[in-house]
Symmetry: C2
Subunit: 241 residues, 2 copies
DNA sequence: GCAAGGGTAATCATCTGACGTCTTTGCGCA
DNA sequence: TGCGCAAAGACGTCAGATGATTACCCTTGC
């Protein structure tokens, strides 16, 4: 085991054992390095990892603290996944998103507050009027994020957000299905909202599943088409080379 | 933005832009540090984070490589979450696990192979005969992991595993409900297996949901009891202090 | 007495240089 | 042709120094 993993385990153990509680401040880097028997450089590498995972919070000029250790903090490090995943993995992730989004929508139909309903209605109205692809994607993300927040499960919200990366949606908008997608998406958004507002969890979940499945279908189509275009370009290149 | 985040973004951008493909080797640390305009120490901190996230693979004496970027690699970094999460977050995570486990079980009932059925049946048989708490927990994890694997979605499998930490189950076994839990768990495991083997996705999913919900219930009970014991101990201490 | 300002100390951020350890690779030898 | 060993390259770790930033306290003025 590398010194790095050893340090990470040492800090994590301190937390699980209760020696370090949320909000607690760690000893200075130099002191902590001596205590775990390593150099400051190696310690910093471990601390950096734990900071990225949302377990530690490093404040310049102040010190290093244990975070609140709540769901959103700990799941925020997932953000990179959707960006670097390969196409095959992206489809697996999309399936997970469909599962989580349906569950979040179902819970939202039960737990949503009046204020949140109003906010969501506003976004739906903006979506109905939006024709610009980029702004549409932005509103779409806000729509789904509001629903996930209304589910009442903060960890679930963050997880859904991690699996709904803008990259994929933006890629989708570059295809030539834009017009059809926009219109159908609008209709599906309104259906989801209607069921949530009416307090119909089963219907809302079904509508969410259908919506994400459709987006998945479009993505798959765009992906196949891009591959076909690549192959055809390669063929031409081979012929002319 | 700190230099560290800048470096992380630089590497991630190289991957998303296609300059770095899965399996590719990065330039040596010293060279890469110069190229992104930083020192080797700072670069190493960024590389360490990306390695922990499953994006880079550092091999001593050889070099640093881009991983396969598949689901399991990218989700393995989540393992720490269940260990450090607070009690409130743990319940949120448990709810997510219930959602994911049900979905994985449903998919397993559709996609499981004959070999996997046999393997699962073997674990069920062992669970039926096991009386030792620790070994029971181990078999229980293996049971759920096999199902998640049989779902056919590797990312989903890894995600379920991340949210099913042994810590919580072990904690549960230390309570005094052990006997009742073991018996009921056994029955639920057999029901889940029966529905999967029969190719009944809806029934399998329902059984999985019920099972996880029961474990959640036991955990909550154990948690409340522990809190009550703590409070009572504190009272005694106050009286005698 | 209180509030605003500056100065000091503590802490993290970054860089430099060096040496140890491990893996790979290619050469020489049997 | 196969084996063994040595050298080179890469990461692992450490030590020290300096800059940047923040928190805290003390002074000063109202």
């Amino acid at each position: 085991m590398s010194a790095n993993d050893r340090i990470i385990n040492a800090v994590v153990t301190m937390i699980t054992d209760g020696d370090l509680q949320p909000g607690d401040r760690l000893p200075p880097e130099a002191e902590l390095a001596v205590r775990v028997g390593t150099s400051r450089g190696s310690l910093r590498e471990a601390v950096r990892v734990l900071a990225y995972l949302g377990i530690l919070d490093v404040r310049v000029g102040d010190g290093t603290y244990v975070t609140s250790l709540d769901g959103p903090s700990l799941l925020r490090g997932l953000g990179l996944i959707g960006h670097v995943a390969t196409d095959k993995t992206a489809l697996e992730i999309f399936e997970i998103r469909r599962i989580l989004e349906a569950a979040a929508t179902e819970k939202a139909a039960i737990n949503i507050t009046d204020d949140e309903v109003a906010e969501l209605e506003d976004v739906v109205a903006q979506l109905a009027a939006e024709t610009d692809g980029e702004r549409f994607v932005e509103l779409d993300m806000r729509f789904h994020n509001l629903i996930a927040a209304a589910s009442g499960n903060a960890a679930l919200r963050e997880l859904v957000a991690s699996f709904s990366v803008q990259t994929q949606r933006a890629r989708l908008m570059q295809g030539r299905f834009v017009d059809g997608i926009l219109e159908q998406s609008r209709a599906e958004h309104e259906a989801i909202f209607r069921h949530i507002k009416a307090g119909q969890p089963a219907l809302a979940a079904a509508a969410a599943t259908a919506h994400v499945a459709n987006v998945e279908h479009w993505l798959r189509q765009a992906h196949d088409e891009a591959r076909a275009a690549d192959a055809s370009a390669a063929d031409r290149h081979r012929e002319h080379g």
